[in-house]
Amino acid sequence: MAEINMVTAINQTLADLLAQDPRVVLLGEDIGLNGGVFRVTEGLYERFGRERVMDTPLAESGIIGAAIGMAVGGLRPIAEIQFMGFLYPGLDQLISHAGRIRHRSLAALTVPMVVRIPYGGGIRAPEQHADSAEAYLVHTPGLKVVVPSTPYDAKGLLYAALAQDSPVAFLEPIRLYRLGRMEVPEERYQVPIGPLRVAREGRDLSVFAWGAMVPLALRCAERLAEEGVSVEVIDLRTLSPLDIEGIGASVRKTGRAVVVHEAPQTGGVGAEVVATINETAFWWLKAPVARVTGFDLPYPPYAWEEFYLPDERRLLKAVRETLRD
């Protein structure tokens, strides 16, 4: 097994999917010759040609809408939205159609498609290149939403996503693209969509995280371990459907919880995690669940991003306060 980063893991998986299944087509902006602005599709155009790896016009609603038609028509499209901040013009297609056609047709038709969406902050990018808009997707019935935080999960979740008969939003944390390498099996495997991953076991408090917040949570857990505090780090990994039983089980064990995410606090997925804890572990809770999140502001110009994003200072503080109660 080679040690690879997340970009390579996704790239290899896409290559294998294209090779194994003639129904798979990739479409998006700059994914062809250019190999994608993050080079995730590098080499695929050369290998599979323009009919399988399609550079589209600059039109997100068109991309997602065309992918929906392709999926209903028997292909397995994998669309790329260049940055999550540019998903918004295409939201209607996800909300009105991708998520509804199965229901609307009383299951006569299915929409097996994947939308890959790089997301999140921390890379000093221009405005609207650092958004975390997962809450819009999680509130949209009929979509599944996954977020790998490791190369291993990226590969396994992508295979699992392609095996669904539901549309899947596959969120790729930009900051983790090249951040860590790990051994990833060369053969095909699926990481099931649904179950959360216990990234680190602990007894005193559960931290719920996804994407680039997972390594942050792990760093804090390590730090706190030195102080004798045992923090459980949960990588939710699937945001829709949420693993409500897994969330409850962890908090029933630890009695305390903190949720951390990059998106603004109000109405973020963190609120749903809190509500789920309230429903599944209320009687075990020893303190209010804390949320450490982006602020209720648009993502700021990058001179401010280190202050906007949850960091060790803020997460440690919240954990310590939650333990104090």
């Binding site: 038609g69 028997g74 292909l75 009929g142």
Partner: protein, 347 residues
């Protein structure tokens, strides 16, 4: 600028010759009669509270029916809310249309190659592009055709779909029924472009303007577009110029916004009259045939209504069945909660 002639077969101002086989003409006419009867009857049902809001296509029967007859059953259609006529021709029985209007069923049924009715305007046009592309990739010799209205041309999705289709040279037909109005908004407030067909120029695709109340012209225009698409010549935007003689839906009152004279002028262009007269003149249809056809239509429709109304009330929890093949735990819990609540006495 290129001028946009109006293709017409029926009537003294014909600009195109008739190439439609007689049997097809008769079938088109018969289906138009059926659709007219259906719409008239369903408006009545709605007034009696037996179905929900209903969008009749009265006045647009030629465009609806003839366009769908020009397709193969293997072609895909992507209809809008007013296209039960096209869905019927493509294979959805009227009984299902009634069930849909009763809020009990999907707008499609069986294995008809149609998307379910799209309510948000023009959002299904990109789907037609994707369907066409998928068919081409899979080596199928079929087209996809999207149905929409004049108002639909203003939406961003219209633009994105036609532009995509142009670049891909996808075998897709954009069939726009310009019925003069988008609810209360007349076409001249919808766009400053003189015709809708000329919008094709923005995408480097074919644009055709056809008399939408002339069933034969519509049939020929769709057939030609289909042949072009299958020959690899790419998409066509067809503007079928027609008129909605009725309300937008049963919830609409067109007398609020629509000049009476305009309506009357178009009533004389009724597509049923025009095709009926043509068939009569050519001895293809006697008065007795016509009456028999109408009687048959009424019978069929009454049967369809009876059948639809005889279906049992919906199972409350059935709505949970269709969204996922693997409903997640919370959804299963929600279904259980509903079941439990339904056990409670009604307060």
């Amino acid at each position: 600028m290129e001028t946009w002639p109006l293709y017409r077969v029926l009537g003294p101002e014909a600009t195109d010759s008739d190439r439609v086989p007689d049997a097809i003409k008769l079938k088109i006419y018969e289906d138009m009669v059926l659709l007219r009867s259906f719409d008239e009857k369903t408006i009545t049902l709605q007034r009696q509270g037996r179905v929900g809001t209903f969008p009749p296509s009265i006045g647009q029967e030629a465009a609806e029916i003839a366009s769908a007859h020009a397709l193969s059953k293997q072609d895909w259609i992507a209809p809008s809310y007013r296209d039960h006529g096209a869905l019927y021709v493509h294979g959805v029985p009227f009984e299902n249309v009634i069930l849909f209007a009763m809020g009990k069923a999907s707008s499609i049924s069986g294995d008809v190659r149609a998307l379910p009715t799209s309510i948000p305007i023009a959002t299904h046009l990109p789907h037609a592009v994707g369907l066409a592309w998928a068919a081409r990739q899979r080596g199928e010799s079929v087209v996809a055709m999207a149905y929409f209205g004049d108002g639909g041309t203003s939406e961003g999705d219209f633009h994105e779909a036609l532009n995509f289709a142009g670049v891909l040279k996808a075998p897709v037909i954009f069939f726009c029924q310009n019925n003069g109005w988008a609810i209360s908004v007349p076409v001249r407030l919808q766009t400053a472009s003189e015709t809708l067909a000329q919008k094709a120029l923005a995408y480097g695709i074919s644009g055709v303007r056809v008399d939408g109340n002339d069933a034969l012209a519509v049939y020929q225009a769709v057939q030609a577009a289909r042949e072009r698409a299958l020959a690899g010549a790419g998409p066509t935007l067809i503007e079928a110029v027609t008129y909605r003689l009725g309300p937008h839906t049963t919830a609409d009152d067109p007398t609020r916004y629509r000049p009476r004279e305009e309506l009357e002028a178009w009533q004389s262009q009724d597509p049923l009259l025009r095709l009926g007269q043509y068939l009569a003149e050519r001895g293809l249809l006697s008065e007795a045939d016509q009456e028999a056809m109408q009687a048959r239509a009424r019978d069929w429709i009454n049967q369809a209504i009876e059948a639809a109304e005889a279906t049992p009330p919906v199972d409350p929890t059935a709505m949970f069945r269709y969204l996922y093949s693997d409903p997640p735990l919370r959804l299963r819990q929600q279904m259980a909660q509903l079941q439990a609540a339904l056990q409670e006495e009604v307060p």
